[in-house]
Amino acid sequence: MVKKFGDFTAVKELDLTIHDGEFLVLLGPSGCGKTTTLRCISGLEIPTSGSIILDGVDVTDRRASQRDIAFVFQLYALYPHLTAYKNIAFPLKAQHVPKEEMDKEVDRVVKMLRIEHILDRKPKHLSGGDMQRVALGRALVRHPKVFLLDEPIGTLDAAFREEMRTELKALHVDINATSVYVTHDQEEAMSMGDRIAVMNAGVLQQIGEPHEVYANPVNLFVARFIGSPGMNLLACKPETGENGQLGLRMRGNNELLELPGTLQQLLKEKVERDHSLVLGVRPEDTTVHTAEQEHSLAAEVYVTEKMGSYHIVDLSYGEEIVRARTSAYVDMEIGQNVRMSFDMGRVRFFDSESGQSIMN
């Protein structure tokens, strides 16, 4: 589907299949069209072109109220004039469910979410977490075909977010409903998603299981966006060394990095000679050495960020910065000259012009 607002295309040719019972996370920076996508799925927006198929039925022309989809909004959108109980029961009222059955259903989700004690309160007397639970309750109460969650825990404070994350995931495991979960927080996406769909500027970049997206990003955007910190990206060019082996001329310090045979083979097959590349390597696959080391590059310690259980060492490499994750017991001084090496089994190459991965 495509969604335009006037001349502005918010979602470009999105082709997405969501499996039954799956927890799909839609991940991307703010303004990339995540909410718009959810609104199209729910029927609150009509796609400019394309269609939306739910359980094999084309629902593109159906109104939101006829799609049987639940939506948890970014700011919860709890009805301010209704109590928590009435908020949760509101969707059932639309279906004219008899009173006893309604009480039973509400009771079921209230137990599940452990919010028995706040049912008489109006939203303005609820804490963020409780509002969140009531909003979830309103979605859960009617067994919808799909759950759409738009950054549901984005406004909670950090500690609580972690807790809710676990709770939400557990809830999904319990009820096993098809869910689309929107977030701009890649960590949240990694920890929750069965699959992650990464979007940028209205375009779907990559869809796959978290480890797949993490280990093998299809382009530079995904490589930078996923991971904290993101992938190190170093400009380089393949070059045949004096020993006749194919290596990489690194732009940073203009050294030649030797390559294992498999990578030499790959580059020979996929890359024209003299074509600029970007080497991507995760911080945890980057090792810092204080002594001389084979297949390593010279770098200088720039800053060390102490994260508690590990350190992130920022190394300056020419104009570029390379981040390495080291153990918390390694101490390095600013300005210290070191060597860095990469786990060559895990490095990725991208075309520097198109930004696309050349690994697939």
Partner: protein, 314 residues
């Protein structure tokens, strides 16, 4: 620090004093009218006015009735006096009159109530739905429409009065309830749309979106979500619209004579007709004050919130 606090306290005191003075100034005519309506006939034209007097409801009875003076020598007998109702006795004692029939006021009062209540209800109904439409849907030429709607308010009633009179005569709406109701609705809807649109704009759309995905139609979402949340705005608007219609003089004067005449159009006549019965005129005015006052008091919580809300918005 102390200096600043002292200044603040002083400023507050000054503001309070100024407000009290203004309130008193504003209340003087009101007090004067209410006071006059309770004065006995003989006291009213006395100068300087007596400060202390025996309050009397005779003026209220007079404004409700038509009476005839007992001709000289035909005073009621002792027995007749005994048989009189309290009301009749009060009138006789004060002005030597006999009640002939119910007066014109009840009819006028009822006219005012019917016309104002109905026109306010219709105005609010149309205003709320129109404001909702303008607030939520991409109406073509929205700003032009909004300006056009407002522009209907820019002509003073006196100027449109004559054309409206001619039109009403052609379609037989002169001196009819329906005519004035239509006119007041037409005149007030613009105001209502503008004010209510402001209120509805403030209600986040997500509430309705939530209701839509929860299985409600657009109209149900409007009724169950938007309406309850705009009661404040609706109440405030209703008070203003009602008071405008209740006070409206120019149209009522030009377009009604009898059947549909409202209190403001009728009351001024009475001063002459009653032989400068200031007491009766004051009593009529006092009664005339009651409905807007009751309405305002009933809705005061909404009103204060509604007005200050309007002020906070640009």
């Amino acid at each position: 620090m102390a200096q600043v606090r002292e200044n603040k306290g002083a400023r507050k005191a000054i503001v309070a004093v100024v407000l009290i003075i203004f309130t008193i100034i504003y209340m003087i005519p009101l007090f004067y009218i209410v006071n006059t309506s309770f004065r006995p006939w003989a006291d009213i034209r006395e100068y300087p006015p007596k400060l202390i007097y025996q309050p009397s409801v005779a003026a209220f009875i007079r404004i409700f009735t038509a009476r005839a003076v007992y001709p000289p020598g035909q005073a009621p007998t002792e027995q007749e006096l005994k048989d009189m109702s309290t009301i009749e006795r009060i009138v006789y004692k004060e002005t030597n009159e006999r009640i002939v029939r119910t007066g014109d006021l009840p009819r006028r009062y009822l006219n005012s109530l019917i016309i104002c209540v109905l026109s306010t209800m219709i105005t609010i109904l149309l205003g709320t739905t129109a404001a909702y439409g303008f607030s939520r849907f991409p109406v073509k030429g929205k700003d032009d429409w909004m300006f056009f709607i407002l522009s209907t308010r820019m002509l003073p009633p006196v100027i449109v009065g004559i054309p409206v009179f001619l039109m009403f005569r052609n379609v037989g709406l002169n001196d009819s309830h329906l005519g004035l109701i239509l006119l007041y609705v037409a005149f007030n809807v613009s105001f209502a749309v503008w004010v209510l649109k402001g209120f509805i704009d403030e209600i986040p759309r997500e509430y309705e979106d939530a209701a839509l995905v929860d299985g409600y139609s657009r109209f149900q979402a409007f009724r169950k979500i938007v309406l309850p949340q705009s009661v404040t705005g609706i109440a405030a608007t209703a008070v203003f619209v009602f008071i405008f219609a209740w006070n409206e003089y120019a149209f009522a004067f030009m377009l009604t004579r009898n059947t549909a005449q409202t209190v403001p159009a009728w009351l001024p006549y009475q001063m002459g007709v009653l032989g400068f019965d200031w007491g009766a005129a004051a009593a009529g005015t006092t009664l005339f004050l009651i409905p807007p006052m009751v309405l305002t008091i009933l809705l005061r919580n909404h009103l204060v919130r509604g007005i200050s809300f309007g002020a906070v918005r640009k």
